[in-house]
C-alpha cells in the first residue's frame, strides 16, 4: 500500500469526484421528464396550440438542465484542468 504517490492519490480521488459530480444528472432528468409529460398533456388538450407549447416546453427543459450542466462543468474541470494537482507543490 505504500507505493501510492501523492499525485496518484489526488488523480484517483478526482476521478471518483468527477463521477460523483455527474449524479447531478438525476435532477434535470426528472425535471425534463416532467416538462415533457406536461407538454404532451397540453398538446392532447389543445392540439391547435402545439407550436407555442413545444417552444415553451423546450425553454423550460433548457432551464431545468442548468443544474446538470453545473455538475458537468465540475466534472470537466476535475478531469481536464485539475486544480488540486497544483496544491501538491
Amino acid at each position: 500500500m505504500s507505493n501510492i504517490t501523492n499525485e496518484g492519490l489526488v488523480l484517483a480521488c478526482s476521478a471518483i469526484g468527477a463521477g460523483l459530480a455527474m449524479i447531478a444528472g438525476i435532477g434535470p432528468g426528472i425535471g425534463q421528464g416532467y416538462a415533457a409529460g406536461k407538454g404532451a398533456e397540453a398538446v392532447g388538450r389543445q392540439p391547435e396550440a402545439q407550436g407555442d407549447i413545444v417552444r415553451t416546453m423546450l425553454l423550460g427543459a433548457a432551464v431545468a438542465e442548468t443544474t446538470g450542466i453545473y455538475g458537468l462543468a465540475i466534472a470537466i474541470v476535475l478531469l481536464f484542468a485539475n486544480p488540486l494537482i497544483g496544491l501538491l507543490g
Partner: protein
C-alpha cells in the same frame, strides 16, 4: 491535460510591448464564421427587386421569422432588439453546427459563451436603468420585501453565469461524448482487424449521434440562448 482544450494556432505579440496574446482556434474559427456570414449576407441582399426571386425570398423569410419571434416574445414595442437577436441567433446556429464538418465549434470554449452572456447582462442592466431609472432599478431589488435583497442580487449575477455555462456545457459535453465514441470505434476496429487497420467502424455508426449532438442540440441551444436573452431583457424592462 491534453487533447480537449482549443488548439493554439499562433501567438500574437502586441507591437511595442512584451504582451503575447495566444490565438486559439476558437478565435480563428470565429473570424472564419464572421467573414463567411458577412460575405453571404452582403452578396444575397444586394439588388433588391419588387418581386423577390429565390435568394431574396429566403432572406426575407429569415428576417420575417426573427422579427416575428422578437415581437411575440418581447412585445411589439421592443421590436428594436430584433437585429441583435437575429445576429446572435444566426452566429450561434452556425457556430454550433460547424462541428458537423469536423471543425471544433467556438462555442465549446467558455470564453465565447461568457462573452455573449456578459453582453446580455449589460443589455439587461442598461435597458432596465433606461426604462425605470437608476432608483427604480435599485428599488426593484428590494421587492417583494427588503430581506430578500441579497437573494435578488445573487439571482442577478447568476443569470449571465447560467446562460454562459448552459451553452458551454451542452457543446463541450457533446464534443466529449463524440470524441469518446470515435475513440472507442477506432480501438474496436484495431482490435478486430489488427493494429494498422482503417477505422472502418467510424463510417456510419456515429451518424445518429452526430445528428443529435451537432445539429439538433446545437440549433436548439442557439434558439434557447436567444429566447432567454429576450425574456430576461423584457422582464427587466417592465
Amino acid at each position: 491535460m491534453k487533447g480537449f482544450g482549443p488548439i493554439l494556432v499562433f501567438e500574437f505579440k502586441i507591437p511595442f510591448t512584451d504582451i503575447v496574446v495566444p490565438i486559439t482556434n476558437t478565435v480563428t474559427v470565429t473570424w472564419l464564421i464572421m467573414a463567411a456570414l458577412a460575405v453571404v449576407f452582403i452578396l444575397t441582399t444586394r439588388n433588391y427587386e419588387r418581386i423577390p426571386k429565390k435568394v431574396q425570398n429566403v432572406m426575407e423569410m429569415l428576417v420575417d421569422t426573427i422579427t416575428n419571434l422578437t415581437k411575440q416574445t418581447m412585445g411589439p414595442k421592443n421590436i428594436k432588439f430584433a437585429p441583435y437577436i437575429g445576429t446572435v441567433l444566426i452566429y450561434l446556429a452556425v457556430a454550433n453546427v460547424i462541428g458537423v464538418i469536423g471543425i471544433r465549434p467556438p462555442t465549446a470554449d467558455l470564453n465565447t459563451t461568457m462573452a455573449l452572456s456578459i453582453i446580455t447582462f449589460c443589455m439587461i442592466n442598461y435597458n432596465a436603468v433606461k426604462t425605470k431609472g437608476l432608483f427604480g432599478r435599485i428599488k426593484g431589488f428590494t421587492e417583494p420585501m427588503f430581506l430578500l435583497t441579497p437573494i435578488n442580487l445573487l439571482g442577478e449575477i447568476a443569470t449571465p453565469i447560467s446562460l454562459g455555462f448552459r451553452l458551454f456545457g451542452n457543446l463541450a459535453g457533446g464534443l466529449i461524448i463524440m470524441d469518446l465514441i470515435f475513440g472507442g470505434l477506432k480501438s474496436l476496429s484495431t482490435a478486430i482487424f489488427g493494429a494498422n487497420a482503417l477505422p472502418i467502424f467510424q463510417l456510419a455508426i456515429p451518424l445518429p449521434l452526430n445528428f443529435y449532438f451537432d445539429i439538433f442540440s446545437g440549433l436548439l441551444q442557439s434558439l434557447i440562448f436567444a429566447m432567454l436573452t429576450m425574456i430576461n431583457v423584457s422582464n427587466a424592462m417592465d
